[in-house]
């Protein structure tokens, strides 16, 4: 884990320039030193060395925030500030986040922990934090104006409460949240059970990520905060495929994936090759008798879902949002459909005016993944990412579950492409195709014997 105290000095011009509201060192004296993360990689789980023990989670392309114990209280320090998030190599977004990243670090505590969170506001405007799903005193719920004063720029506020129930939670601002969430201010919160819980199983791998969406104009860096529904960047933890790490598991590991949705639409999250059960919702663990098998679970807006399964089948299994546009990166939404349109001659004509013009979309959009054409800066193609057999033709909310027989426990590194056993892959049929049996009346030309005729009603049809 990278923790650099001097991160602010080198965090890039953007961060430095926007963080106009400087916080004096004096006012920070006595607070836990904020830990800052600059790498977009998935960090190894943070094993607890103080406080109650628990089995830590792994945040996809993210990290867990370290704490300090202070007289039995777990103290965290969150710094709200502008950040640069690498959404995929070559594509950086100027966001607002916490402690150097967006989404912010995952906070992990244990049921019954007393938690004290210092929140320093280095944004150019006030903020607050709402602890989504927690049971806590009303004054700690973080709705600016309702429960507390907003945290002014440059100030540090303290939230303190007991993590009462185990489960999956989120945190996000509740002051100017339309802007601040559109800018990526959000984070994950996991409360582990203190003791063995009848409805909470021990798992071998526990992954978590947030669903988030941005509208970043091709060639620009900052999301358009006024966008309501027409987003063009759909992300897991503000990363897009192929910038997302795979979820890896050793064969027969019990795997839990926690997903929180802070976009403005629902996402049917779909896993290939395995069935899973939804073992937890926002409200807590699902009673065993109420669980049912799924291969897709819809995570509605503002919801969290925990799914669990046994990684029983070896391979590289797709794991993605089933809204097909959500597995695309930025693209135009008003591009005309060119499917089946004959471009002959017209192309020559257009080329004489626009020499670089190439036909796209005539046969479908897969051209897009095949042709590597220059794009606006800071933009990745709408479908990209190669697999061992060619382009995966997807982006956005897409990653893989990689199940390997020999993946060591606690090893979350990418094992590479799966070597499929001989004879277990679809292949080209080169033999003859048997003519299917047909009715005698059926035309052999493939045309129906009787053309369907559309009759339009007229005034004299006599019906």
């Amino acid at each position: 884990m990278v923790s650099r105290r001097d991160f602010f000095m080198g965090a890039g011009a953007i961060t430095a320039a926007v963080a106009a509201s400087s916080v004096s060192r004096v006012s920070l004296a006595g607070l836990p030193e904020p830990v800052i993360q600059s790498s977009p990689e998935t960090m190894a789980p943070l094993e607890p060395n103080t406080g109650r023990p628990y089995k830590p989670v792994v945040t996809l392309n993210g990290w867990t925030l370290p704490w300090r114990m202070n007289n039995g209280v777990k103290e965290f320090h969150l710094v709200a500030e502008p950040v640069v998030r690498e959404m995929a190599p070559g594509f950086n977004a100027h966001l607002w986040g916490y402690n150097g990243q967006s989404p912010g670090p995952t906070i992990e505590v244990v049921e019954g922990d007393r938690v004290r969170i210092f929140v320093t506001n280095k944004l150019p405007e006030h903020t607050s934090i709402h602890w989504h799903g927690q049971r806590l005193p009303n004054g700690m719920d973080g709705v600016a104006g309702l429960n507390q004063r907003a945290i002014p720029a440059g100030k540090t506020y303290v939230y303190e409460f007991e993590a009462k129930r185990p489960g999956t939670f989120m945190y996000h601002p509740h002051a100017d949240e339309m802007v601040q969430m559109a800018m990526g201010m959000m984070g994950f919160w996991v409360t582990h059970p203190r003791d063995a819980h009848p409805n909470i199983d021990e798992v071998d791998r526990d992954y978590c990520f947030l669903l988030n969406a941005y509208d970043v104009e091709p060639g620009s860096y900052t999301p358009k905060i006024m966008e309501m529904l027409d987003f063009n960047i759909w992300t897991f933890n503000s990363r897009v495929f192929p910038g997302i790490d795979p979820l890896v598991a050793r064969k027969d590991d019990k795997v839990r994936i926690r997903v929180g949705n802070l976009t403005m639409t629902n996402h049917p999250i779909h896993l290939h090759g395995h069935e899973f059960e939804v073992t937890g919702t926002d409200g807590g663990p699902v009673p065993r008798g109420a669980r049912w098998p799924e291969v897709t679970t819809d995570v509605a807006v503002g919801q969290m879902r925990q799914i669990e399964f046994i990684a029983s089948d070896l391979g590289d299994w797709a794991f993605h949002c089933h809204k097909s546009h959500h597995t695309m990166n930025a693209m135009g939404h008003d591009v005309p459909t060119m499917l089946g349109v004959d471009h002959r001659k017209v192309v020559t004509q257009i080329n004489s005016l626009i020499p670089d013009y190439m036909v796209m979309g005539e046969r479908g959009m897969a051209d897009m993944a095949e042709m590597q054409m220059p794009l606006p800066e800071n933009t990745i193609p709408m479908m990209t990412g190669d697999g061992p057999f060619g382009s995966v033709e997807m982006g956005g909310m897409f990653t893989m579950l990689k199940v390997r027989a020999d993946q060591p426990a606690g090893d979350y590194s990418d094992p590479g492409w799966y070597q499929q056993p001989e004879g277990t892959q679809a292949f080209e049929w080169t033999g003859p195709l048997a003519e299917p049996a047909r009715f005698k009346s059926e035309s052999t030309t493939g045309k129906p014997a009787v053309e369907v005729q559309v009759r339009k009603p007229t005034g004299h049809s006599g019906h």
Binding site: P218, G219, A330, M331, G332, D334, V335, P336, T337, M338, L339, G340, V341, D342, H343, K345, V346, Q349, I350, S352, L353, I354, D356, Y357, M358, M360, G361, M365, M368, M371, M373, P374, L375, P376, T379, P381, M382
Partner: protein, 472 residues
């Protein structure tokens, strides 16, 4: 008639005097042409002036014109042809001949009068012979000759200005014609883009990807582009014909070609802080007005000098009689300035002189103003063209490049790309108009240093209001 006796020597003296005064003025129209050539060459850069002495062009002129028309017609070739071949200019050149003839006429002596009378008184037969001469015009002769020479110089100046105007008009027409031709080519490209869009929309509708409304929208771009194309063609024909008229061409000669593009706008504009002073020295209308005033001053002097003597007539008489000895003598007739002391005429002359002084002042003030205005128009035209060249066109190009990238990423479709191409071409076309306006302004600035620029020169075909109206 009085009879007087005079010595015959007197007659001889008068004869010698008359011959001296009259001098020997000859017709010299060719030197007038050379003067004009010299005066106009500074602007035209040509020595192509000649008299069309016959109905048909001399072969050397015809050959030269054919030679110039064989190549794509360069700017200065057009000027050369116009100076050789414009019939209006040829007509104007004959003003030189007329003025020269008038000059010579003015330097000739007034014809003397001769009278003869026969009278009888009884048996006496008396012959009266008299030779009389208007003394006034004789004394005024040097002055009237100077006036006539001045008039001749004025005509030369006017003709020079006509030559320069023709050269300027020709240049402007050439710029307009080349620009219109280039514009036509651009409008063809726009049409092509719109055509591609319409065709694509048609095919999309054919396979069911486009509604009738969407197709009609794309078709309407094509329809409008076709309209602009027609207008561009008309403009091309009109500007070509204007050039043809100025060059005085007809028949096969009109099939000449023009260069494909206008010359580039210079990197830096002409900085002329002292253009007003220069123009004051070189403006022919200012010079003419000054000389007009001088001439009137001379006239006034003349008037004063001849106030009495122009009503004075000197005569010599020789009367013979068959009974008397021959009578010789002279006679002088003087009008009695009883009623007309020439006061009114003098007052008129003075008024005319004062009038001319005021006119001269007006001409000078207008000239200065026109020069300033033309220079300002030139600067603005340069600024506009340079702004297009350095800012707008590169930006449009950048936008098109970025749009191409957006198309590559499937952020925009082919129709947006085509619309952008149309937009880019239109921008380049507007730049071309600005370029053409600049060259027109440059031509008018050249001319305004020699004479007033009238609206006829500013026959703006352009849509950008950058062409200077000049002075008028």
């Amino acid at each position: 008639m009085n009879k007087t006796n005079t010595a015959p020597a007197r007659l001889g003296f008068i004869g010698v005097l008359l011959l001296t005064v009259a001098g020997c003025a000859g017709l010299a129209p060719q030197s007038s042409l050379e003067q004009v050539q010299q005066q106009s060459a500074e602007l035209t850069g040509q020595d192509a002036l000649h008299w069309a002495t016959e109905q048909d062009q001399p072969p050397v002129v015809r050959e030269r014109i054919a030679e110039l028309l064989a190549e794509p017609l360069a700017l200065e070739s057009a000027v050369e042809i116009a100076l050789m071949n414009n019939p209006g200019l040829q007509a104007r050149l004959f003003d030189l001949g007329i003025a020269d003839a008038q000059r010579v006429q003015a330097s000739r002596l007034p014809n003397p009068g001769f009278s003869i009378g026969r009278m009888t008184r009884g048996s006496e037969v008396e012959w009266e012979r008299g030779l009389h001469l208007n003394l006034g015009s004789l004394i005024a002769l040097p002055l009237t000759r100077r006036i006539a020479e001045g008039q001749n110089a004025q005509v030369q100046r006017e003709v020079s200005l006509s030559v320069m105007r023709l050269a300027t008009d020709t240049r402007i027409a050439w710029y307009r014609a080349v620009a219109a031709q280039q514009s036509l080519a651009y409008s063809e490209q726009v049409l092509q883009a719109a055509d591609a869009g319409a065709e694509m929309a048609h095919r999309m509708a054919a396979v069911g990807n486009y509604s009738a409304l969407q197709q009609a929208r794309e078709q309407s771009f094509y329809a409008e582009a076709a309209l602009s194309h027609l207008q561009a063609r008309q403009e091309q024909v009109a500007s070509h014909e204007r050039l043809v008229r100025l060059l005085g061409l007809w028949g096969e000669q009109t099939n000449f070609t023009l260069p494909e593009r206008l010359p580039d706008v210079p990197a830096e504009p002409l900085d002329q802080p002292d253009i007003e002073q220069q123009a004051m020295a070189s403006r022919l209308d200012v010079q003419a007005a000054q000389q007009g005033a001088e001439r009137l001053a001379t006239n006034l002097k003349l008037g004063k000098a001849t106030r009495f003597i122009n009503v004075l007539e000197l005569g010599i008489s020789n009367n013979s009689s068959n009974e008397e000895p021959v009578q010789r003598g002279y006679e002088i007739t003087v009008e009695l300035p009883l009623f007309d002391w020439s006061g009114a005429r003098m007052a008129g002359n003075e008024a005319r002189y004062m009038q001319q002084l005021q006119r001269t002042a007006e001409v000078a003030i207008n000239a200065r103003s026109q020069v300033r205005e033309s220079y300002q128009a030139y600067r603005t035209a340069w600024d506009v063209a340079a702004h297009y060249r350095d800012e707008i066109v590169p930006l449009r190009k950048r936008i098109s490049e970025e749009n191409m990238l957006l198309y590559n990423g499937m952020f925009i479709g082919v129709f947006e790309l085509l619309a952008d191409a149309r937009e880019q071409i239109s921008t380049v076309n507007r730049y071309l108009q600005a370029q053409s306006d600049f060259w027109v302004a440059q031509s008018e600035l050249d001319l305004v240093r020699f004479g007033p620029v009238t609206p006829s020169e500013a026959n703006s075909a352009s849509t950008t209001p950058a062409s200077p109206a000049g002075g008028h």
